[in-house]
Symmetry: D2
Subunit: 345 residues, 4 copies
């Protein structure tokens, strides 16, 4: 298999500027566990985006960011309402249940997006000791299905939650892609629209391995240093995690990386949609393209380009682009898709 | 504060060869989560040291390595016997209890080292449902007190454990320092002496942030892919974690780094022991020096060089050296220690 | 409110023979925690029903029985497939998630009953570390919706499970009602149809407070004494829990009690179905009647007879009968239902 | 073995008045889960003792009472300081660690009693994310070693705790024995001496199986209904648990039962202390007698009277008395002890 992977934005490497920042951070001895100047700079930059009272907790990966962030808001008898397709529900091997001890109440959600009506139907048994108590609504932005919540949609969910003493959590593993898709700043996806805690995703955006829990309500942050440590997500040489955040939040690198990823997804969709044997199934908003292919075409293509089948029953496949995907990558892949798909059309 | 830190081997940066390996790994798209050639190479190298049946699970940090490794051997009603001073007992914010649900039965252990007699006294209530069932003995090598278990000492513990259906776990956050101190290969600290699961520590040895759980009994490894994921310790872009392991296990870099750290500790101890107002309290075996100082001397020195007070009651301090500590660093620090301590002698 | 409760079979008291057995067990000192002759007799009686290799673990309540029983089969990264309406999913305040650390994968199930197709659709991601691994199928017999699995339906589920290395769990909080409904012995609902672990429900069947985990595969029972204790479900004066089980399993009391409950439900359904303003919505198989009423009628009736609204959206109500419900109770309630419902028809 | 058991106060049966109360509660249908008049009466009686703001949560057993009570005060990164000999530390199979996810920091405590100095030495690392944060001091009253904290000793501990934002928990599995030993009312062992949450033990005091969590700070009680349910400790037919509490708290039955148990222990100690081959090792304050016997004497006696060896190394044995122990029981046992011990003196 020699082609560029369209399997995941995790298949991409590290943006050179991020690596350069890691190298640059490698000077002399500094305190461990975050008490270093690079982490201070990362915190400063995150706060510049998300507001001066944001508390920032760098962690290793997306699972850790989501679980640590949710723990800020939850006791074990309280539940999280999320989309059935949410990463926390299907792709973290039960890490939330294991660590939090909490139930995830998952809801079939068209396009991977919760709505107030969906959430409201899943919130019941309030005050009844037999039932878990809904405390957090968790949304993914952009979603696992490549869709993007509008600012109004998020505001509606946070208003609903806050009126009921609940919190809104945002899994931002691809928050940069969402911001670019919406044409907004990162901070417009935070407390501005009522989000209480979010996972700021850097890994898929061009980092080596770095995420941050951003706590937007100061009263929720008090115990987070302990929670992060007990959750095994405290880096000893944290400067090298923080350096990645610094790089992405400097010179709008986060935006440029996400913009490339989104543009390449759009380019791919445009290049293949409507071709014989190819149906792009969803409007491409961020950096994912979902399409229907004949399974035989899929099999041929997967020998050349890594990507995943999303739904075996329907033959739907998922193609992801990243900060590193080039026009040449897309064009080569699109050409082969058209060619192969036509053979089974 | 301008001096080199002697506070922790975590205060050091990354060895240039490790960084170079990370940079080198940054080529093109590869599968995520460990299905990549760099991880395959890391596994091969670990197996070259620890034996062909060793199973290797790279993780982010030491807390993760210990908790994931212990989970391979434990059910929640089973307990871990460890030294009172063990890192898992006092420095992981309760992560083992939280994730494993298991009790740590801690034992006051002179020099931070368990013995068969100490373990035997802590193992009781076998078969009684009211008592946790001792299943794992966990030792740290080198210990938190800078001491090193001899091969015979480890063999005695593993023999004791295995005769009783128990396992031996080795927290090897500083396993390289121990191997160098003993003049043995890494693998001689594994199944050769009866260790069943160990944490292979790379971060303190010169990595950016990488450890590995090494499972030395194949039957314990079957579920570890799931355990690691549920424990939030599965890296998406794992090639960059694995590259660090590759670098340290190539060209004996692990050995050179540990040898430097150990030599610098010995140099420091030799330079200050017996000086007016300084008493080195323990035989220096690895990369830690423990000493008694007048607290006023400590206060002065801490304004120039970062290090920690180990025991406020006695005035004992801890000085750690690392792969990066230079002779000049040591000599400058030792000179100031002698100078300042003399003033309070 | 002066009428008999139709709210729950938990609203009934204790059958006199059960109380007599408790009183009779109160003679002299005996060992605690189950090492007593009454518990031995309870075990003997359970084994007479469920087979000579059944292992019996008396516990306090249904939540405990289900959680302890599930723990016999599960590690935390493994999941339980259950009906969305399952008691373990909606009525135990997240106790399974908290104690087991496992995800419940819940499936909308018509009539509260899982089928092989439903289970198969919920079982995916096998071998993928990102996904919880389906290990247990849990069914409730009789179900929360008053329906009963046939022996063939259970056999189909256990065959499906066993072919895939999975287990079948049966929540038998109302197993006696199911056995009576099917006209079978209790044991025919155990290993005879492939059930691996079941909760034997005594409380709703006329006990004061007693359930038992029945482990039908000996290899799953080895650690259960520890699991039960760690799950806080080990009674010190266990003879008084066991005496309840003895009473119900002697002289077919379990059957007589369940038969009364089922007959009273049938009598109630017959008396009101088709009356003006009343629609019995499901075939009454065990001791629950579900019906549609005008909410105003419900409000009036609830001032006289305790019972619960099952579905506020549709106006569906649930009426439960018990071992203690009399024909006079039913007739008085039915008369008022007809009377009140007619007023809103 | 025909003699009365001196093995445990759990070996005794149920006081007839308690059984009578259970029988009396068995009238008609009542709401489940505590919304019944018997539970209301139990709450009223507990409040009469422990104060009008006490919140009362009946549970099944001592393990449940301790774990649920501790959960009122703890988050998982917070720890409990307790005596090494504490029941929660050695006799609950790790239930606290499993359910709470918290570390128990156990302290060798002479006579089973914590002191301010012992607690203070165990409380360290405050504010350091690497360390569990000490939040609760847990004492047992009377202790596992048959000793009793004075009111002043408890006050000193609660003052220490409260000054540091910590709480004081009292495991009162034998609180009645302690109150009688001190000649005080139950309530004098509650908020009057600064206890924040306590386990009120009824089972050993003559109940069938009942305990209650008593929360003495209203702000800690808000979530306890959910915690109890998730901890599998919510009884469906709660009236029968509550009836036991009502009986013991009526007509001073709790006091009479405890007074008998204590008197019988004193009688036993007096009858054997100083006899040839018998040394009573501790001052008998409650209902336990600890003595040194020749192991051969112990072996002979255990064939006639059940009791436990407490310390195999020293030959120390434990004899427990209960509400049901009679003077004749004691005299018969004491006579045999003297007789048998003399043979090995």
């Amino acid at each position: 298999m020699t082609g560029t992977s369209f399997g995941s934005d995790n298949h991409a490497g590290v943006h050179p500027d991020v690596l350069a920042a890691v190298v640059e951070a490698n000077t002399g001895t500094v305190p461990a566990y975050g008490d270093d100047p690079v982490t201070a700079e990362a915190e400063r930059l995150v706060r510049r985006h998300f507001g001066p009272t944001a508390e920032v907790f760098p962690v290793f990966n997306g699972t850790g960011a989501n679980v640590v962030g949710l723990q800020a808001m939850l006791r074990s008898f309280e539940s999280v309402i999320c989309a059935e397709s949410a990463h926390i529900n299907v792709d973290e091997c039960g890490a939330p249940e294991r660590f939090l001890g909490s139930k995830l109440v998952d809801v079939p959600a068209p396009g991977g997006k919760l709505t107030v009506d969906l959430v409201d139907a899943a919130r019941w048994g309030v005050g009844d000791p037999h039932h878990v108590q809904a405390r957090v609504v968790s949304i993914t932005q952009s979603t696992e299905l490549g869709t993007v919540y509008s600012l109004d949609e998020i505001r509606a969910l946070s208003a609903y939650a806050h009126e009921r003493g609940m919190y809104l959590h945002l899994d931002g593993a691809r928050i940069a892609n969402a911001a670019v898709a919406l044409g907004v700043e990162l901070g417009e996806l935070g407390s501005a629209v009522g989000v209480d805690v979010l996972s700021f995703g850097a890994t898929k955006n061009g980092a080596l391995g770095a995420e941050a829990v951003v706590v937007l309500r100061p009263e929720l942050a008090a115990s987070m240093h302990f929670v992060r440590k007990q959750a095994m997500q405290l880096a000893s040489k944290m400067r090298f995690v923080s350096a990645q955040l610094v790089a992405l939040l400097s010179d709008d690198l986060w935006r440029r990386n996400a913009a490339n990823a989104n543009a390449m997804a759009a380019r791919l969709a445009a290049a293949v949609d409507g071709a014989a044997g190819v149906t792009v199934t969803d409007r491409v908003q961020a950096n994912a393209v979902f399409a229907l292919l004949d399974p035989r075409a899929t099999a041929v293509l997967q020998q050349e380009f890594p990507f995943y089948v999303w739904n075996e029953a329907t033959g739907q496949v998922r193609w992801m682009t990243s900060w590193a995907t080039t026009e040449a990558d897309v064009d080569a892949f699109a050409a082969r898709i058209r060619e192969v798909a036509a053979g089974f059309a």
